[in-house]
């Protein structure tokens, strides 16, 4: 037996990373690597479909790969398989005495694609190749950022090529490495925390229209301005109408709870024909009521406050107001305990879980 793959690419699969890894990262890395070392075989971990014997299959694939490029994001260490993939390679490094010998000599290259500084000390022994600034699908050709991405890839390809030169001869023993779960070695900070104060600042001063796109989960677009009165809500409302006309499903949510007003753009004015009057439930309320509820990520609750503003035949913009029409709105908002809210959602399902539920349920 001998090596089958030059490079094994390990990452946390899913809607977020798979398109980027498959369509952008791997093909470009391959192009640069082939300039350095000629034709080569790259195995990407998402090629494995969970099946009867996938554990053994994966182990064999890793054992028969020369080196591993681990694309590390925040969720990487939350997936058992990612942790075990990395563990197998680290075990081999240790076995060969190749661990901790510097950047270009080893079998594992960590590449950071997200998650900032939240990684365990386990990984900080080596310098990351940082790709955090290049992880969007749109990474458009001919831009400054694309140029920097190419430069970074070139450096990564050089490192990989150098490491490939030092790879020892294949040995059957490697298939027998257990790939013990790294979990016990992980520092607690990766287990997940949430800083309520920062997230609060992030979301409450902005207003979102949610635009569903080809991506299964849709995109969230935030219109932000530091000061009021410069036409943010108006821009949002108009852009929402244009996107709906262009065939997108659009939901606008008025997150500007302290100075709400987005709804005014969607209400019928005397000029409007009767068919342009907002349709929806007769009840008052909106986002604040949703946030106040004990289960703010409940789908039915969101749908109860959903209004539809017809734009043209079969075209509408969905809208959830702040709830400002309730007479006690101001006092309820003043009393709303954000710290508590974020702490609660962090305990229950994490704040991100909350926003993702909202994204997927609408």
């Amino acid at each position: 037996m001998d090596y089958e793959h030059h490079v094994f690419i390990s990452y946390a699969h899913g809607d977020l990373w798979t398109p980027w890894v498959r369509d952008i990262f791997v093909p470009r890395l391959r192009a640069y690597l082939e300039l350095e070392v000629g034709r080569l075989n790259i195995f990407v971990s998402d090629q494995i479909q969970p099946g009867s014997n996938w554990e053994n299959f994966l182990k064999r694939k890793i054992a028969r790969s020369m080196i591993m490029v681990a694309l590390i994001s925040a969720s990487y260490f939350t997936r058992e398989w990612c942790r075990r993939e990395m563990a197998m390679m680290m075990e081999r490094e240790k076995y060969l005495g190749m661990d901790g010998q510097g950047d270009n000599y080893g079998l594992l290259i960590p590449v950071r694609i997200g998650g900032g500084d939240s990684f365990p000390d386990l990984i900080s022994r080596v310098q990351f190749h940082d790709f955090e600034d290049f992880t969007y699908l749109g990474l458009p050709a001919g831009t400054e950022i694309a140029l920097r991405f190419e430069q970074r890839l070139k450096m990564l390809a050089k490192t990989v090529a150098q490491m490939l030169q030092h790879v020892p001869a294949f040995c059957d023993d490697w298939q027998n490495f257990a790939g013990e779960d790294l979990r016990p070695q992980l520092a607690p900070k990766v287990a997940g925390y949430f800083n309520a104060a920062t997230a609060h600042r992030l979301i409450i001063t902005s207003a979102y229209p949610r635009v569903s796109s080809d991506k299964a989960s849709g995109s969230v677009i935030t219109f932000y301005s530091f000061k009021g009165g410069i036409g943010r809500s108006m821009a949002l409302a108009n852009v929402a109408v244009l996107l709906a006309r262009a065939g997108k499903r659009v939901l606008c949510i008025d997150w500007d709870l302290e100075a709400p007003g987005l709804g005014r753009y969607f209400r019928a004015s005397p000029r409007h024909a009767p068919e342009l009057i907002i349709a929806g439930p007769d009840r008052q309320g909106g986002l604040l009521d949703i946030l106040e509820s004990s289960k703010p990520d409940n789908t039915a609750l969101w749908q109860a406050y959903l209004l539809a503003r017809p734009i043209a035949d079969g075209v509408q913009v969905d809208f959830i107001g702040s709830g400002e029409d309730a007479p006690d709105y101001s006092s309820r908002l003043a009393e709303f305990n954000w710290e508590n809210f974020f702490a609660k959602s962090a305990r229950r399902s994490s704040y991100r879980g909350f926003t993702e539920r909202v994204e997927s349920s609408l």
Binding site: V220, Y224, K248
Partner: protein, 185 residues
């Protein structure tokens, strides 16, 4: 948490300074959150922009914005297009008509035949919809400034340099006709 941030600000310092700080801060905070998120592109938009009078000061304001927000433009703007040019195209002009009540110019202007704000809203929504694929084509599509566009002002220095190089290039800024007809200095 957003996949795209539209950052709106007026041309004065308090807006520009704070929006710059916040854009920087949002990216830092996002980086420090232990959750998976892709890179956040930002479209800076110079809003409530009035260049009907004081057009020299308007040009200076645009220079200022281009300088401060250039790093965010370079994340998605093709390199052949200068951030300074994009600033001029991604403005939302001040239209007094819409300061009196909440209205949707994209519906309203098609009724009244006027064309002002909705042009800029359309461009912004096209950029959003494109996920930054084919930005050049989108910008080329609106590249010929029509009679409905307010002046697109380059900086005074650039204008001089450009006129020296190619007097006819001035047309792409939709300058008032009296200006374009003036003799070269």
């Amino acid at each position: 948490m957003p996949d795209l941030l539209i950052l709106l600000f007026a041309a004065n310092w308090q807006n520009i300074d704070w929006c710059q700080r916040i854009a920087h801060g949002i990216r830092e905070v996002r980086r420090s959150l232990p959750y998976d998120r892709t890179f956040l592109p930002i479209i800076p938009v110079l809003a409530r922009f009035d260049s009907r009078e004081e057009s020299d000061r308007a040009a200076v304001a645009m220079d200022r914005v281009a300088e401060r927000f250039a790093p965010y433009f370079t994340d998605w703007l093709p390199r052949s297009i200068r951030p300074r040019d994009m600033v001029a195209w991604s403005i939302l002009p001040y239209v007094p008509r819409y300061s009196f009540e909440e209205a949707l110019p994209v519906e309203d202007e098609s009724e009244t035949g006027a064309q002002g704000l909705s042009f800029y809203y359309q461009l912004l929504s096209d950029l959003i919809r494109s996920h930054f694929q084919g930005v050049r084509a989108i910008l080329a599509g609106v590249g010929v400034p029509g009679a409905f566009l307010p002046p697109m002002l380059p900086s005074a220095m650039e204008l001089r340099a450009e006129r020296r190089r190619d007097p006819s290039a001035i047309r792409r800024y939709a300058m008032p006709s009296w200006f374009a007809k003036r003799k070269n200095p």
